[in-house]
């Protein structure tokens, strides 16, 4: 029991430690992303019609978010939301979600 407990204590942080710092929920990008995941699913893996973001190339996500913000061409919630974010914040969000695995 004690060994199992020690193993638990050490194994879990080890698996977190395998991710780059930018991929932590507590990193600046990860912290920002917690507002997105309420709709897009934990770590960007969505269960429904809202698109998944996990594992998509950062450059694609940056381009998509900036298009929503700067050149909206249809009525979607993302046109509205992206107006609240700077280029640096968009880059940090894209870095976080691109580092997430598309499968749990």
């Amino acid at each position: 029991m004690r060994i199992a407990l020690i193993a638990l204590i050490f194994m879990a942080p080890l698996s977190l430690g395998a991710l780059p710092a930018s991929a932590q929920e507590t990193s600046p990008g990860g912290q920002l992303a917690q507002a997105c995941t309420s709709c897009h699913g934990l770590q960007g893996r969505s269960l429904g019609a809202v698109p998944s973001l996990a594992g998509r190339p950062a450059a694609d996500l940056v381009a998509l978010l900036k298009t929503f913000r700067d050149a909206p061409n249809e009525a979607t919630i993302m046109n509205r939301i992206t107006r609240g974010y700077t280029d640096d914040e968009i880059a940090a969000l894209a870095a976080y979600f691109s580092a997430m695995s598309p499968t749990p």
């Binding site: 942080p13 430690g17 929920e25 600046p28 912290q31 917690q34 019609a49 509205r80």
Partner: protein, 424 residues
């Protein structure tokens, strides 16, 4: 002195440098830190999961009175007959499986000096960090004649669960041609667009099943959330069925009499077939008893960390807070929980916490395949939380059926994702 953060410690452990006996100083404090969360709704469930996800060796205890949780979001769909109460009800099994100690009891006393929480069952929990997320309670005497007993005849259905089912059953039992009254209190109250979404989904049901019926909203306010979008839906989908009476036109519900089914405003008496009376609200009793509201009814917080401005080491989330521009919504509570969780983990690690922007998205349904939304992006500004932008936050008026259909699909997906984050 160099502070050893959790990540440094983990890195050291990963490098094979650490053995259990090395667990001293900040790392030991992190391991031993105890967090107690009072209330298993959107705020409490979200932070319990967040903390366990990001600090798997943290001790997190969730104190929750009920064995299951029925969400207020999507409960208007139950009242309107779009889906069932089972679809919006969750157990705490997923939270327990995530390593949270779930205690089904009621927190009765917080001792902020001794850092303890006493429970009705006699248990006393000690904490290093306390998160209070009790939701709302009703100010029964805000309406003469209204009470918990009266709510069994004139349901509020503003805490989801049996009250939701009661209101649904009353609507199903009502004869065609009946009057449904919805009484709305003055702001601030939980879920600002909720009463109007409810009127809209009841109209959807009555149009199909009892088309001679009417809905009257008796409102203490002069305007309401997403008003143009609701009014557009009423006009196009349910013409002539919904009447909204603002406070200045005798819309304020002053008293009720359940024995005669009378709802009275300052000038008018109504005798509806179904009366949905939503009273004024304040923070849950444990927050009031602990003095966290400082006599204001809701609790002031540090806008970055959600730490109480009254007691150090106690954090308040969700509907119980005064959180600047953030509305009292499940989405807000979920976002606040993750910000607060990050702040607590930074405090444990001895690192600096910088707040990030938060979001609130609120979808409202007008029928099964027709929804619209408001989105808010927030940032900390001085001692409050402000909107980053104030204009163009809504689904446009005159949007196509296609837009309303996709908003309905996104609303379902939001619900599935946020409830999976908490209860999955």
């Amino acid at each position: 002195m160099i502070k050893l953060s959790r990540r440094d410690f983990v890195a050291a452990a990963a490098a094979g440098l650490a053995a259990p006996l090395l667990m001293s100083g900040p790392a030991r404090a992190a391991t031993a830190a105890k967090v107690v969360v009072i209330g298993g709704g959107f705020g409490g469930a979200s932070i319990a999961r967040y903390l366990r996800r990001n600090s798997p060796d943290l001790s997190v205890t969730l104190v929750e009175r009920d064995k299951q949780f029925t969400t207020c979001p999507f409960s208007n769909g139950v009242i309107g007959g779009l889906w069932s109460i089972a679809d919006v009800t969750f157990t705490y099994d997923g939270i327990a499986a995530a390593g949270v100690t779930v205690v089904h009891d009621t927190a009765t006393t917080i001792d902020a000096d001794k850092k303890t929480v006493a429970l009705a069952g006699g248990t006393v929990l000690d904490y290093d960090y306390l998160v209070v997320s009790p939701g709302i309670q009703f100010v029964w005497d805000s309406i003469e004649g209204y009470s918990a007993e009266a709510a069994e005849i004139m349901p509020h259905a503003w805490q989801a669960g049996p009250q939701t089912t009661l209101l649904r059953n009353q609507l199903e039992a009502m004869d065609d041609g009946g009057l449904v009254v919805i009484g709305v209190p003055a702001v601030p109250f939980r879920c600002p667009p909720g009463p109007y979404e409810r009127a809209t989904l009841i109209a959807n049901y009555l149009t199909q099943s009892k088309p001679k019926s009417k809905i009257m909203i008796l409102d203490a306010n002069e305007s309401f959330a997403k008003q143009p979008l609701f009014e557009e839906a009423w006009k196009n989908l349910y013409p002539g069925m919904v009447e909204w009476i603002p406070g200045s036109q005798s819309g304020i519900v002053m008293s009720v009499d359940t024995s005669t089914m009378t709802v009275s405003t300052s000038f008018d008496d109504y005798q509806p077939a179904v009366a949905n009376i939503i009273p004024a609200q304040r923070a849950g009793q444990i927050a009031i008893d602990a003095g966290l509201d400082a006599g204001q009814g809701f609790c002031a917080i540090n806008p970055a960390t959600f730490e109480s401005t009254v007691h150090k080491g106690i954090y308040v989330l969700g509907d119980a807070t005064i959180a600047g521009a953030m509305p009292k919504s499940g989405f807000s509570a979920n976002n606040q929980a993750k910000a607060c969780g990050a702040a607590i983990l930074a405090d444990i690690a001895g690192t600096e916490f910088t707040p990030a922007k938060l979001i609130n998205v609120c979808y409202s349904f007008a029928k099964a395949d027709y929804a619209f939304e408001v989105v808010d992006v927030f940032e900390v500004a001085g001692d409050t939380i402000n909107l980053v932008f104030d204009d163009n936050r809504f689904t446009p008026e005159g949007a196509s059926d296609e837009v309303h259909q996709s908003e309905a699909k996104y609303a379902h997906s939001w619900y599935e994702n946020i409830t999976a984050e908490m209860f999955g």
